[in-house]
């Protein structure tokens, strides 16, 4: 049973007959969306600031310095500025699609956010197909991007969206296939369960160390994730030196910032997936320690039908925080890695992107899957014998 529904069951039990179940569902859904949106905004703001700082320091300069300590409030200032900017829609643009595109992009990524586990016991939705759901939802953004490119009625944007479509189609395959390797080891697509499967060896039983094919699979995943999130060296849909700003050339103000939020949220989600399926997810020695000290379960589900939850283990909140924090740190390390790569590498050409996707990543990922499967089978046989 998922955390939310357990919580809801508890609430229903608590509130009794006063509130109908559908209202509880709706209310919790709205709250979840609000939290997810807020989370995305926070992530985007922090990532933008981090990106500017990383870029600055890599390039021997400071980055933002004036708004707050080392410019940490810069993103908020920028956000306010973007909100106040004039909302421009080109005369010849398709107005409906033009306005719909950023909304769709943002909606898709908020939806994908639903499967992100904040902590082992605090989730928006404990989806069994979590990984599949995230990948499916985040590739929904492509539709928004293509829509934006088309609706802008500009040649540069149509180039950008054409490239995005081609690129995402090409890189969905290696992304999915390379993720098959840890999924095979974990035996689940659920993010929470996959993370829990790595709790052995004092929280260091990461999938990364459990199979020799995991490291190449991780590298392949990293490359595919970069391409999937349109990050350099695969930022061809934007390609600021070639296509001005690609699909968002005609966008400005808050609509443009939606694309930006999507980009950073997608980066975050991809990093989170990587963290969960390769780098132990919630698990680390610290998490292990916290779990040992305070217990793991937040909600101790009681036995009686009247009271679905009998008690909340407040001590476990520490564990939950540590676990959630661990995942957050790992995700941001992934984001940092992406930024580091972005500020190091030149951009690949579009045909090379295709070649790399189809001729290099996909076969290599398949080899990894095969190797990992054989290894697992051999390992199992060894254990059994």
């Amino acid at each position: 049973m998922s955390g939310t529904s357990a919580f809801l069951e508890g609430l229903k039990a608590g509130l009794g007959e006063f509130v109908p179940m559908w209202a509880l569902w709706l209310g919790s859904a709205l709250i979840s969306v609000a939290i997810a949106l807020g989370l995305i905004s926070l992530i985007a703001m922090f990532s933008v600031w981090l990106e500017r700082k990383v870029a600055g320091h890599i390039q021997c300069r400071y980055g933002p310095m004036y708004v707050g300590w080392h410019g940490w409030l810069q993103s908020i200032a920028d956000g306010v500025k973007l909100l106040l900017k004039e909302d421009l829609i080109p005369r010849d643009a398709d107005r409906v699609l033009f306005m719909l595109a950023p909304a769709l992009v943002l909606a898709a990524i908020v939806g994908a956010m639903a499967a992100y586990p904040l902590a082992p016991g605090i989730l928006f939705a404990d989806i069994d197909l979590g990984l599949f759901f995230i990948i499916a939802m985040s590739s929904m953004t492509t539709i928004g991007v293509v829509m934006a490119g088309w609706a802008s009625n500009s040649k540069w944007t149509i180039y950008g969206s054409m490239r995005e479509a081609a690129q995402v189609v090409a890189y969905e395959i290696p992304l999915g296939v390379s993720l098959l390797v840890p999924v095979m080891v974990a035996g689940t697509l659920n993010l929470r369960e996959a993370s829990a499967a790595q709790a052995d060896f004092f929280g260091m039983g990461w999938f990364m160390f459990k199979n020799p094919f995991m490291l190449p699979a991780f590298l392949l995943f990293l490359v595919a994730a970069l391409a999937e999130t349109k990050r350099a060296p695969f930022d061809l849909p934007e390609a600021e030196s070639e296509l001005v700003a690609g699909f968002m050339t005609e966008y400005s103000g808050i609509r443009w910032s939606f694309f930006f939020m999507e980009e950073y949220a997608a980066m975050f989600l991809m990093s989170a997936i990587g963290a969960v399926f390769f780098l132990g997810g919630f698990e680390s020695p610290l998490t292990h320690l916290a779990g040992q000290l305070f217990g793991r379960d937040l909600v101790v589900v009681g036995a009686g039908p009247e009271f679905a939850f009998t008690a909340i283990n407040w001590g476990a909140l520490v564990y939950q925080l540590v676990a959630g924090g661990t995942l957050l740190v790992k995700s941001f390390l992934g984001i940092f890695l992406m930024m580091w790569l972005r500020w190091t590498l030149p951009r690949i050409r579009i045909d090379q992107v295709m070649t790399m996707g189809y001729k290099y990543l996909t076969p290599l990922a398949l080899v990894c899957v095969l190797g990992a499967a054989l290894w697992e089978a051999g390992w199992q046989a060894l254990v059994r014998s």
């Binding site: 390039q59 021997c60 400071y62 590498l345 090379q352 001729k359």
Partner: protein, 178 residues
Amino acid sequence: MQQTETAQGYVKNIWDTVKTTLVGMKITWRYMLQKPITVQYPDERMPIPDRYRGIHYLEQEKCINCLACARACPIDCIEMEAVRHGKELEWISFTLDYQKCMFCELCVYPCPKDCIHMGTEYAFVTFDRSEFKHDLLSFKGMAREARIRMKEAEAKKAAKDAAKAAGGGKSAEKGGEG
């Protein structure tokens, strides 16, 4: 990543890509940990060398209104006006149009009195275009010293004339005039 014929080339491609990427990341990592080289501009400023070619300044006392700088200027952005009282000058204007000026320092060299210089001021910002026509004069009219010198010179001249008149004894009226 394109047109790979041989298996060897295929592997080499991957190897090269990974290797050069790591080399690049090493370099950027090293710089990330170093102290940035930029300065926070309005608060800190880079030192300005002595020869910096910024907004001009004029040593007005030395200037003799010879127009050498105005003639040397390729775009004729220097204009000056002064009234001459004997040896002394009464200044009316000495303007430099900074909309035109290209800070080439050609006006500085021909100056016989070495009185126009390029200063170190560079941020000259205004909301009004007319203010770019900058008056280099620190005072208008005549300097106090010049006035005194003029007075003295006049007095001297008068005295001389008087002496001449007294000595020559030719024209008492002339002496009286002075």
